[in-house]
């Protein structure tokens, strides 16, 4: 994908510092609550991950935000505009893919974009070439969408989002159907969009992608947001793991758990996995090595595992499971 075309004209718009702001947002389907009192704050100009397992209510929240379905309770603002009261104004500068991007199969990619551009301001039609170029399918613009691969449709969906020169992009599972190269391209494009000052909300269940792409996340489960914040700060509260490969894992386990270090440890596949408290200093790793060596354990490898969003997510959700 190339970084060209869409430029943002500098001017003051809505005054709210938040791209997305919801308070007590609730959506029910019959007796099931899909979105349960969500308070979400997405700051402008960042890549924001909206993370949760399948069925957690991610897409439903997006649909409510975009006016595709109505909320049962709560308030929301997009780019500083009350929704649904000022929905038409707010959405003028929002681009979104909800679920998979779908288009008229019998039309070309360009013709589909012409239909969508016609629903926006007149300038949107002039952005078609740039949007197609930016997502890397300008050379296939006159092919019918029925001949597009899933990845190309994803790219076309992003191109559709760019027609409105958006301040806010809401991308629901944008990596679906992309090959590894396409995922890299998508990641780079999201980064470039954020660099231009746009806000990108990325809904996904792919923790690794969120961690690589986003500055901040909200974790959602069963319709509720259970954590939200910058990734670095969220991960700062995670425990430290040290993976050890040695000749006598059982003996090493005894030495570490019975000693003054007070570490939690377990043997997994002939490896020793030691878990230390989040605020443990790195000197503890050297202390582990010293204890093992003085205890006649031959250490082959000692690796500090940095906390990942995936581990943190599992940790948080398992803790929630324990509480329930």
């Amino acid at each position: 994908m190339t970084n060209t075309v869409t430029t943002l004209t500098p001017a003051v718009t809505a005054q709210s510092p938040w791209a997305v702001e919801t308070h007590g947002l609730t959506k029910k389907f019959g007796g099931r609550t899909a979105v349960n009192g969500v308070d979400l704050l997405v700051p402008r100009g960042c890549a924001f991950g909206y993370l949760g397992p399948n069925g957690a209510g991610k897409t439903t929240l997006i649909r409510v935000l975009l006016g595709l379905t109505h909320a049962d309770a709560g308030t929301m603002r997009l780019l500083g505009h009350d929704v649904p009261a000022q929905r038409d104004i707010a959405l003028a500068r929002v681009g979104a893919i909800v679920d998979e991007p779908r288009f008229h199969q019998h039309l070309t990619g360009r013709q589909n974009l012409e239909i969508l551009a016609a629903a926006r301001e007149p300038a949107a039609t002039q952005r078609i070439d740039g949007a197609l170029d930016r997502v890397g399918i300008l050379h296939r613009d006159n092919d019918r969408v029925s001949k597009y691969s899933m990845g190309m449709r994803q790219r076309l969906g992003v191109a559709a989002c760019l027609l409105g020169d958006p301040h806010l992009l809401i991308l629901d599972e944008p990596m679906n159907g992309l090959d590894p190269g396409g995922m890299v391209d998508m990641r780079e494009m999201i980064t470039s969009l954020v660099a231009e000052g746009r806000t990108v909300v990325l809904s996904s269940h792919l923790l690794d992608e969120i961690e690589r792409t986003c500055d901040a996340v909200a974790i959602v489960d069963q319709g509720r947001i259970i954590r939200q914040g910058p990734i670095t700060e969220l991960l700062a509260g995670s425990s430290l793991e040290v993976e050890i490969e040695c000749d006598a894992p059982e003996r090493a386990l005894f030495l570490l758990t019975s000693g003054p270090l007070g570490a939690k440890a377990s043997v997994i596949d002939d490896h020793l996995l030691v878990t230390l408290a989040a605020d443990t200093s790195r000197d503890a790793v050297a202390e582990i090595n010293r204890i093992l060596v003085t205890g006649d354990v031959a250490v082959y490898r000692l690796q500090e595992n940095h906390a990942s969003l995936e581990k943190w997510f599992l940790e948080v959700t398992s803790r929630l499971g324990d509480q329930q």
């Binding site: 100009g45 960042c46 595709l68 500068r93 979104a96 910058p230």
Partner: protein, 384 residues
């Protein structure tokens, strides 16, 4: 569960000033020309549907007339001219009216449902454009496609029916001068009594003791009926011929060598009205139901089954319901000079359910408004 232990503040991000919001009244229910134009493109590019529209409205009448032209050229004694008034009326009421409605309804059902079924309506709603505008854009778009196709098909029929019209007027099997007044027809009948008595239809009891026998007009016994052997006087023949001519004048008056221009103009408007009704009702129904197949089937049932039934069968206590069927109302605003689309020329055919023109107009407008309203309401409220 806990929520938001770590606040995210704008200072944590790279928030900055961005472009202005456009002022384009996209909350208005009025669609823009660009929306209509692209909607026309979307519908026109559906090849199967476009081909069906062209075939039914242009192809079938054109092929029928072409075949008639060819066989008339090859064997003019056995096959009459390709055009003429009768062919015109049969094509307009028998083919273009009914099948034009069905393909127009199919186009309407397509326009009303494909954005939903193909997942594009969601993209359109996300633009912030009024859902009503998105819906209303389909009406002029569909009519932009339908009206010219119907006009071209109708122009083809008119051209052949006028240019290849017969040179002699055949009325009830006799060759009769065209355009006579009632007095003129009576005079002609008196001068050609045998033609009239042995060819024209008797449309009521005639108290003249003469009938057409196997070998021409003969006198009959007024009491017993069987033919008498007495010769028939010239004055008796003229009297009978004049009486039959008076009876048949109203029918003769509506028989032409070729369709009059006023009738052609009225027929075009009537066909366009029928097409527009089919499209708009189909659009509303499909938008209401969110799918295409079932509404198309319902529209076909309405046109092929329900409308002929309700138009011609007088059902006790349901007469007002029958009048409220749009197809029945449309037949009642049919141009004079065309045979009824569902009851034929009236010669032994079923009689139409009575309905005033004003009632018919109210019914037609009501259907257009109600179905448009229902479709728009559903599209505005629908979860997508």
């Amino acid at each position: 569960m806990t929520s938001s232990p770590i606040p995210i503040t704008p200072e944590n991000s790279s928030a900055r000033v961005l472009s202005e919001f456009p002022v384009d009244h996209r909350g208005s229910p009025v669609p823009t020309l660009a929306m209509i134009r692209t909607r026309v493109m979307e519908l026109r590019k559906r090849r199967g549907l476009t081909i069906a529209l062209v075939v039914v409205n242009i192809g079938i009448p054109a092929i029928f007339l072409a075949v008639r032209l060819i066989i008339h050229v090859v064997d003019p004694k056995s096959y009459g001219p390709a055009g003429g008034y009768g062919i015109f009326t049969n094509l307009v009421t028998g083919v273009m009216f009914i099948f034009g409605f069905i393909v127009a309804a199919t186009l309407g059902c397509t326009a009303g449902s494909v954005d939903l079924s193909e997942g594009v309506f969601r993209h359109l709603v996300v633009t912030g454009r009024s859902r009503l505008a998105l819906y209303f854009a389909r009406i002029p778009a569909g009519l932009t496609i339908l009206v010219p196709i119907v006009a071209v098909g109708f122009a083809t029929v008119c051209a052949v029916c006028v240019l290849a019209a017969p040179t002699q007027l055949h009325f009830d099997g006799a060759v009769v001068p065209q355009g006579l007044s009632e007095g003129g027809l009576v005079s002609w009948a008196k001068a050609n009594p045998q033609e009239v008595i042995c060819n024209f239809n008797y449309r009521g009891p005639i108290n003249v003791p003469v009938r057409c026998g196997p070998n021409g007009p003969v006198a009959i016994n007024p009491q017993t009926g069987p033919p008498a052997s007495t010769a028939v006087s010239t004055s008796q023949l003229a009297t009978l011929a004049a009486a039959i001519a008076v009876q048949d004048y109203s029918s003769y008056h509506q028989t032409f060598l070729k369709p009059p221009y006023s009738l052609m103009a009225q027929s075009l408007l009537w066909l366009e009205l029928e097409t527009a009704i089919g499209f708009i009702v189909g659009l509303g129904l499909a938008s209401l139901m969110g799918q295409r197949t079932v509404p198309v089937v319902l529209m076909i049932i309405l046109e092929i089954v329900l409308t002929p039934l309700f138009a011609t069968v007088n059902i006790p206590h349901l007469i007002d319901l029958q009048r409220a069927i749009v197809g029945v109302a449309t037949v009642h605003v049919e141009p004079l000079g065309l045979p009824s689309a569902f009851s034929g020329h009236g010669n032994g055919g079923p009689t139409l359910v009575p309905e005033s023109t004003s009632t018919a107009i109210v019914v037609i407008v009501g259907w257009l408004v109600v179905w448009t309203g229902l479709g728009a309401w559903r599209m505005a409220r629908r979860d997508v």
